[in-house]
């Protein structure tokens, strides 16, 4: 022991300032599993990832010189979007498509949220409805078009209904799963404080599942957009999906490209809005 004593203080002493500059700069390690990346590097890579396919597309159409009907150039597609906007009523097409997607999406959310809440919370509801929902969700939404036309006609509600059919059943199951993921300890803690069933649903399960539910809405909203073209197969005469279908008939490849890009752009914007909302609405998840 006595021999150790003189050594101890020198170990405890802080390193002298002179030694500090000798410290090696930490090596940047990108390939750590689930590691971190400096924000500028992340953004740079994200932009590069987006631009690279565009660049390849441009290079091919410029130097490869393919038939424009087969593969139009980015410039041609961009010019087409401008022409669509100025002469062919792009804004109207966007508006009606957004309306159809959102109507179908909100209608399914309106029913799927409470239904999923009950399926995820009460076993009898789950037993009665989940197998059925699971069964229906594998039915192809496209194949419902003739039935939808037969039952509800060919007006707006038919298009909204197709989007509803495409998203609703998936959404119910995902909402039920979100609700089931609420930790049992959170529920039991409320029970031991004397909460009744209604209070547990309202004050524990719903607020606890809210972040997951918003994510579910974000993902299913994306799916709703993918059903737009299908929905506008039903006797539409406007909308982005309809424009794509019509361009297909006349081999306007540039307009097909334009339509596809516009739909994905709107989808991306919706997605980002949901993410922004997530950060705003659930600060406790994003603040440490």
């Amino acid at each position: 022991m006595a021999t150790l004593n003189p050594v101890a203080p020198s170990i405890a002493a802080p390193p002298s300032p002179a030694a500090a500059p000798a410290a090696v700069r930490p090596r940047v390690r990108w390939w750590v599993i689930r590691g971190t990346l400096p924000r500028p590097v992340f953004l740079m890579l994200a932009v590069a990832g987006m631009l690279l396919p565009l660049l390849l597309w441009w290079a091919w159409t410029t130097f490869g010189d393919p038939d424009p009907v087969f593969m139009p150039s980015p410039g041609a597609v961009f010019a087409r979007i401008l022409r669509w906007w100025s002469e062919e009523g792009l804004i109207g097409d966007i508006w009606i498509s957004v309306y159809r997607v959102m109507a179908g999406f909100f209608a399914s959310a309106l029913i799927a949220l409470p239904l999923g809440l009950y399926i995820g919370s009460y076993r009898p509801v789950q037993a009665a409805l989940e197998p059925l929902t699971d069964f229906i969700r594998y039915m192809p939404a496209v194949a419902f078009i003739p039935l939808v036309m037969l039952w509800v006609g060919i007006d707006e509600s038919a298009k909204v209904l197709i989007i509803f059919i495409g998203t609703f059943f998936q959404m119910v199951l995902m909402v039920a799963e979100d609700v089931r993921r609420v930790p049992m300890a959170q529920i039991e803690a409320a029970q031991t404080m004397g909460a009744n069933r209604g209070e547990i649903l309202k004050l524990v399960i719903l607020p606890s599942a809210r972040p997951a539910l918003l994510d579910t809405l974000r993902i299913t909203c994306g799916w709703a957009w993918t059903y737009l073209v299908v929905a506008e197969l039903v006797a539409a005469n406007s909308g982005l999906g309809y424009a794509i279908l019509k361009a297909q008939r006349y081999m306007h490849t540039d307009k097909i490209f334009a339509g596809i890009l516009l739909i994905s752009l709107i989808g991306l914007l919706t997605d980002q809005s949901f993410r922004w909302l997530h950060r705003r609405a659930f600060p406790w998840l994003h603040k440490r």
Binding site: A185, E188, A189, M193, G194, N196, E199, W284, K287, R288
Partner: protein, 282 residues
């Protein structure tokens, strides 16, 4: 001795798992006095958590009965609060909102009759916040706190409706040793201050002896009470007592008994064999 606060009589719990009947609890009987601090230890599968959850009303019993103040329990009640090992705080609420959570519940609101009751309740929330040393974190979210602080919030929240019985299911199991020691003295302080009856389940024998006035040792297959030990320490305790001979003797006795009842003897024999061989090779 004061009359029994909790009376557990011939409690059995059976359930089916993969078609086979499992007897989680077999003929468990125990009486607890008001303001008693009883700890439960035992090998895994001995049913100590199950017993606690049945008392808390979170699980049903198959036979026997449990009464609190002479009334049989039927489901959870505000007279019995429970503290869980983890994941029980509400991450979307601040520390203070977590502690005050029960005030939005009808069962609690019904007990509040006048403005002065409301004032007393607010004062109590503040007092609990101070008691748990959390006044600086009133507006923090649970995930901004350390594990020990989170458990202090959980305890404060459980104490908020003035429960007469506090059920604690391995509340410090996920904490590091130093934090755990601080929590031990805190919970003993709470026990004396609140005059509550505490049932405390743990797998840590030292914790069980330091906290409890009695240590209930349970044994598995079927889950049952094996031995009840009176802790030979004064009501006022400090960390030094963990080194007292009677403390160590009791700890040794309980550990040996857990080993005997755990049904894992072969493992110990194997381990002993290995340690006997090791010096020979060296």
């Amino acid at each position: 001795m004061s009359p029994s606060k909790i009376r557990i009589r011939h409690v059995g719990k059976r359930f089916e798992r993969d078609g086979a009947a499992v007897e989680a609890l077999h003929d468990v009987s125990l009486e607890l006095c008001a303001n008693e601090f009883v700890t439960f230890v035992g090998a895994s599968g001995c049913g100590k958590s199950t017993l606690l959850r049945i008392i808390g009303g979170l699980e049903t019993l198959s036979s026997g009965e449990i009464s609190v103040d002479g009334r049989c329990i039927d489901g959870p009640g505000i007279d019995r609060a429970m503290v869980f090992q983890h994941y029980s705080l509400y991450p979307w609420l601040t520390v203070m909102q977590n502690i005050k959570f029960c005030r939005q519940l009808k069962a609690i609101a019904d007990t509040v009759r006048s403005d002065s009751d409301v004032e007393i309740a607010s004062g109590r929330a503040d007092a609990l916040l101070n008691l748990m040393g959390l006044s600086a974190f009133e507006k923090a979210w649970p995930n901004q706190l350390s594990g020990g602080m989170q458990q202090r919030v959980a305890i404060a929240r459980a104490l908020m409706p003035r429960p007469e019985i506090l059920l604690m299911d391995e509340p410090f199991g996920a904490l590091d040793a130093q934090t755990r020691e601080v929590m031990h003295d805190l919970i003993r302080h709470v026990h004396q201050l609140e005059k509550s009856t505490i049932l405390f389940v743990t797998h840590d024998v030292e914790e069980a002896i330091y906290l409890g006035s009695r240590v209930v040792l349970m044994a598995p297959r079927p889950g049952r009470i094996d031995t009840v030990y009176e802790v030979p320490l004064p009501a006022e305790r400090d960390q030094d007592m963990k080194l007292a001979p009677e403390f160590i003797a009791l700890k040794r006795e309980i550990l040996a008994r857990i080993r005997e009842t755990s049904g894992m003897r072969t493992d110990f024999e194997l381990l002993e064999q290995l340690t006997r061989q090791a010096p020979a090779e060296a």
